[in-house]
């Protein structure tokens, strides 16, 4: 398989068949919490994608050149600290140099440190032995998949607001059932299961 096909398949898998949120259950908290409006969902997912790609670019070399052989047991601690530091740095840099973007994305940044999709994707990249370029594309694909799922779901939720919902499903339950239906549609990309 040549490089282009390999990367295309990584992108397709990350966005559609192995969607971060809807089939791997990573990043459910923001998926349920910040998906009430399409616009908020969009900004949040862009911030997540940005952090995912940068975090992968930093953690992959650390894991490959420092931790791999003897210090594997420090992986979790090092990764989460690196992610926390990156999020802080991005916040500072954006605030100082690109204020309009900070205004749009800034409020989501503190939420991203504890977004399991970010730690999840960095761990998955090194566990699946992807090379550096594939890892970056994989992170990008996962972020885009997250974005797609968030926006689709935010659209569904905006419609839900005007819907006549049975009394016992009001609140979170109807959100979860709507999520079930959205993830059902994503299952179709694989032709049921594998």
């Amino acid at each position: 398989m040549n490089k282009v096909t390999a990367i295309t398949s990584i992108l397709l898998a990350g966005i559609l068949t192995n969607n971060m949120v809807l089939s791997k259950f990573l990043g459910i908290c923001p998926f349920l919490g910040v998906s009430k409006k399409v616009k908020t969902a969009l900004s949040m997912s862009i911030a997540v994608t940005l952090v995912m790609v940068i975090a992968t670019a930093v953690t992959w070399p650390i894991d490959t050149y420092i931790l791999k052989d003897n210090l594997n047991y420090l992986q979790t601690v090092v990764f989460i600290l690196v992610i926390a530091a990156i999020v802080q740095l991005i916040e500072i840099v954006l605030k100082k140099y690109i204020p309009p973007i900070y205004k749009a994305l800034g409020i989501y940044l503190p939420l991203i440190t504890t977004n399991c999709a970010v730690l999840g994707i960095t761990l998955l990249n090194v566990q699946n032995n992807l090379d550096f370029v594939s890892s970056l594309f994989n992170a990008f694909a996962a972020g885009t998949g997250f974005l797609l799922a968030m926006i689709l779901f935010a659209g569904v939720r905006e419609r839900l607001e005007t819907a006549d919902i049975p009394e016992f499903l009001k609140g979170l339950p109807i959100t979860l059932i709507a999520a079930a239906l959205v993830s059902l549609s994503f299952l179709g990309f694989a032709g049921i299961g594998g």
């Binding site: 192995n18 047991y73 420090l74 601690v77 600290l81 699946n128 694989a190 049921i192 299961g193 594998g194």
Partner: protein
């Protein structure tokens, strides 16, 4: 001295948090390396034991020697199973890309390059209820006795020679296992060839 004190007082806001963070990191790292040294041997031992048990299951023998062979410029590791000094067969452990991640397959091959038996070691990255069912014996026992170029029939197809039935709804995972078995047979061909030329 006073200058240092003054500097400290000025930057207290920075120095104390940094110091506390560094201390916490050091303590955590020490605790982890301690736990690692306690559990490391046990983990290696368990891995070796599971591997050994699985090898005994697919091919009974007295000893398993870890060897390697070159196949199309790639170094392939395998185990040679010996019983009473005679080679019984070869065992390959291959990870093949399935639906959600790698599927780990152990394949024992007879000296005439036919499948002795197969065991799916790890299919936990596959879909539960579908792809994970490839780790059931009813699926992988189908491979026994087959030879090179095994193909997968979708469920419901009639069973020809040298084919296996896919797990219902899990064609991709079934194909991954089959591809691992076919690879083992290819590698084994190289092993047998090498041992024959050595014999001459």
């Amino acid at each position: 001295m006073d200058k240092i004190k003054e500097l400290f007082a000025k930057n207290k806001e920075i120095i104390i948090p940094t110091f506390v963070m560094v201390c916490i990191c050091i303590v955590v790292t020490l605790a982890l390396s301690l736990t690692n040294s306690l559990t490391k041997e046990k983990i290696v031992e368990i891995e070796a034991k599971t591997q050994n048990d699985s090898m005994k299951e697919v091919l009974t023998a007295d000893s398993y020697d870890k060897l390697s062979v070159t196949y199309e410029n790639e170094k392939i590791e395998y185990y040679e199973a010996k019983k009473d000094g005679k080679t019984e067969g070869y065992i390959f452990v291959i990870a093949e890309k399935g639906y959600g991640g790698d599927v780990k397959v152990m394949c024992a091959v007879n000296t005439d390059n036919t499948v002795k038996s197969v065991k799916v070691l790890d299919a936990t990255s596959e879909t539960p209820g579908l792809g994970q069912n490839t780790a059931n014996e009813s699926f992988y026992s189908q491979y026994g006795g087959l030879k090179k170029g095994i193909s997968v029939l979708k469920s419901g197809g009639s069973k020809d020679a040298n084919t296996i039935n896919a797990v219902t709804g899990a064609t991709i995972s079934s194909k991954a296992v089959t591809s691992a078995v076919n690879k083992s047979l290819d590698y084994c061909g190289a092993v047998i060839k090498a041992s024959e030329s050595e014999g001459k």
